[in-house]
Amino acid sequence: MGLWHRHEELQLVEGCKNQSRVSQQEVFSKLYGRLFGICMRYADDSEEAKDILQNAFIKVFNGIDNYKGDGSFEGWIKRIVVNTAIDNYRRKKVKPVVTDTDLTDRVGGAMEAEEEDESIYSQIPISEVMDAVQKLSPAYKTIFNLYVLEGHNHNEIAEMLNISVGTSKSNLSKARQNLKKMLQPLVDRLSQ
C-alpha cells in the first residue's frame, strides 16, 4: 500500500492543484526520504541530489494538473524525479567528466567474469553501496539505475539517453564490474 489511502491521496492532489502550501508540504515531507534516496543514486553527492529533488518537486507542483489520477500519485511523482535526474545527467554530459575508460582504469580494469558467491554483497551496509553507486561515472550510474532499479530494458534506455543499445549493454556491464571492484575491499573484510 502507498503512503496515503486513495481518498487522502485525492484530497492532497486537489489541495496541490489549489496551490495549498499545507498539501504541498505534506507531499514533500512524506515523500522526501524515499525520493531523496532515488536522487542520491543518480547524483554524485547529496548537494546534487538536493538540487535534482528540488527541481523535481517544482515540476511536480507546477505540473500537478497533468496528474489525472490514473495511477498512484507517488508513482507519478517518482517518474518525474527519475526524469529530472536523467535531464540532470544529460546536462552534465556536455561537461567534461571522467570518461568510462578513465574510471575503468582507475578501479583496476574490468573484472574477469568468474563464478562467485554474490550473497556476501547483502552484508555490505547500505551507505557503502550508495557511496559506491555515486562514485560510478555519470553514464554508468544512470544506466545502472535505469536498468536495475527502474526496470527499463536496453532499448528504452538507449532511446532515453540517445545512445546505442550496444553502449547501454556495455556500460551496464562495466557499471557492475566497477561496483564489484569498489565493494571488493568490504567483501574481503567480510570474508575474513
Binding site: S20, R21, S29, K50, E118, V129, Y147, H152
Partner: protein, 421 residues
C-alpha cells in the same frame, strides 16, 4: 530484461535507502519558487529592484553611497542558496556577534531608529483550517513594534520603519521582514527580508542568533516570542522588532470503549475526543473512519486507532492507541472427522453456530464439486454422501461452504477443506 543476483542485492540495498529526514532548506527553496517573489528569476529581479530602490533612497535622502547590493551573488547562490545559508548559520558563534539586547544600539544620531519594546500584549488570532490566511490584531499602543502577519499574505502594511526623531529627515527606510509558516509549537517558521543590507542578523527571544536574509526558527513554547532583525547598512545599524504568537498544539482527552455484541462477529469500539471545539479525524491503521465522535465495528484483533486533532488555532497533533478487540462470535470448524462408528468424532459439525441468527452449510466432494451434504439446522454430517447414500472413505477430501448471518445481521462466508481420517 535479465537481473542477476548481484543486481538484485544492490537494488534491494538501494531501495532501502529512504531514511533521509526532510531538508527544510529544500522545502523553503521550493516554496519560494512556487509562492514567493523569490523564485530563481524573480529572486534576481527582486534583489535587483531592492538594490536599485535602496540606492536611490539612501543616495537621495542620506547622501551616502548606494548599498553594496550584489545581485550577481544572488544569482550565483541560486539553487544552492539554502545550503550555503545552513553553512553560514552553523558558522555563527555568539562570541563573534556579541549583541546585548538590553543595550540600545549605537546608531548614528541622524539615522537612529528606535523601537518600543515595552508591550507584550498577546494579540488575538484567527487561523483558517489550512493556515493559509491569518488575521491578527496588532497591539494598539505600539508605534513601530509589529505583530507578524504570517502565511502567504506577508504583511503589506508597516513596510517602513520611521525614525523616531521627527526633526530628522522626513524619510523612511525600507527595512522590514515577513514570516511564513504555521504558528504552532514545534513548527518551523521562516523569516525573510528583502531589505538591502551588508549584514543581517536575527535574534529570537533574546538569545538565538542567526544570520542571513532568510532564516528559520522553531519555537517550542506557546506565547509571544520576540523577533529582532538587525541590519547593517553602510556601517549603520538598524533594528526591526516584532512579536509572533505561537499557539499550543491540541491535547485532546481520548475516551475509547469496547461494547460487546453477543452473537456477532464484530464488537463496537466507541471513540470520543474532547474538547469538542477541536476538529478530529479518526483512523484505523491508515484508513479514516470518522470525522466525529462515534463507533466502528471491528472483529477480534489488535488495531492501531489514531486521532488527528486540529485546534482553533490550526495547530495539529496526532495521537495513537493500540486497541485490542476480544470476544464476539467464536466458531470452531473441524478440518477432519472419523465416521467409523467408534463413538469419537463420528460426525462433522461446526461449534458456535447455535449462537448465530441463521446459517447454511454445504459440503462438496472435492473431485467433481458435487453436493454431498446440506443443512440449515443443527444437524451434523455423518459422512453419508447424499446422492448415492455411500459412506465417505478414509482419505476422502471435501470442501465446506458455510454462510453465516450473525445477530448483528452481518453475513460471512467461510470455506475450507474437510478430510476423512
Amino acid at each position: 530484461m535479465t537481473m542477476n543476483k548481484f543486481d538484485k542485492i544492490i537494488a534491494d540495498k538501494l531501495n532501502q535507502a529512504s531514511d533521509y529526514p526532510a531538508d527544510v532548506t529544500v522545502w523553503k527553496s521550493i516554496e519560494n519558487n512556487l509562492h514567493g517573489s523569490t523564485s530563481l528569476n524573480n529572486q534576481f529581479k527582486s534583489s535587483l529592484y531592492a538594490g536599485i530602490a535602496a540606492s536611490l533612497l539612501f543616495g537621495a535622502l542620506f547622501s551616502i553611497n548606494s548599498p553594496s547590493n550584489k545581485p550577481s551573488d544572488k544569482i550565483k547562490d541560486g539553487m544552492s542558496e539554502s545550503s550555503q545559508f545552513t553553512e553560514e548559520q552553523s558558522n555563527i558563534s555568539q562570541s563573534n556577534h556579541s549583541i546585548d539586547l538590553h543595550k540600545e544600539f549605537k546608531l548614528q544620531e541622524e539615522h537612529k531608529i528606535a523601537f518600543s519594546s515595552s508591550k507584550k500584549q498577546v494579540s488575538s488570532g484567527k487561523v483558517t483550517h489550512d493556515n493559509i490566511e491569518q488575521q491578527m490584531t496588532p497591539s494598539s499602543d505600539e508605534e513601530v513594534e509589529k505583530k507578524l502577519d504570517l502565511i502567504g499574505n506577508n504583511a503589506s502594511e508597516n513596510k517602513t520603519a520611521k525614525p523616531t526623531d521627527s526633526s530628522e529627515n522626513n524619510t523612511s527606510v525600507a527595512f522590514d521582514f515577513t514570516a511564513s509558516g504555521i504558528q504552532c509549537i514545534d513548527e518551523v517558521i521562516y523569516f525573510e527580508t528583502n531589505s538591502p543590507a551588508d549584514n543581517i542578523e536575527w535574534i529570537f527571544d533574546g538569545s538565538h542568533l542567526k544570520q542571513g536574509a532568510s532564516v528559520n526558527q522553531l519555537f517550542t513554547t506557546e506565547g509571544v516570542h520576540e523577533v529582532v532583525m538587525l541590519v547593517e547598512q553602510n556601517d549603520q545599524q538598524y533594528s526591526v522588532r516584532k512579536e509572533i504568537e505561537i499557539y499550543s498544539k491540541p491535547q485532546p482527552i481520548i475516551d475509547i470503549e469496547i461494547r460487546e455484541n453477543n452473537g456477532c462477529f464484530k464488537q463496537e469500539v466507541a471513540f470520543k475526543a474532547s474538547p469538542e471545539h477541536n476538529s478530529y479525524d479518526w483512523y484505523i491503521a491508515q484508513t479514516k473512519v470518522s470525522s466525529a465522535n462515534g463507533f466502528v465495528s471491528l472483529e477480534s484483533g489488535s488495531y492501531n486507532l489514531s486521532l488527528t486533532a486540529v485546534n482553533e488555532y490550526g495547530c495539529f497533533a496526532k495521537h495513537s492507541q493500540l486497541v485490542t478487540v476480544e470476544g464476539g462470535l467464536e466458531l470452531y470448524i473441524p478440518s477432519s472427522f472419523t465416521p467409523n462408528n467408534d463413538g469419537q468424532n463420528d460426525v462433522w459439525f461446526p461449534k458456535g453456530l447455535e449462537n448465530t441468527s441463521h446459517f447454511e452449510i454445504k459440503v462438496f466432494r472435492i473431485q467433481d464439486r458435487s453436493l454431498v451434504f446440506e443443512t440449515s439446522d443443527l444437524n451434523p454430517w455423518d459422512g453419508t454422501l447424499s446422492k448415492t447414500a455411500e459412506q465417505a472413505q478414509r482419505g476422502d477430501k471435501f470442501i465446506y461452504e458455510i454462510i453465516i448471518e450473525d445477530n448483528c445481521s452481518d453475513t460471512k462466508k467461510l470455506s475450507d477443506m474437510i478430510t476423512v481420517l
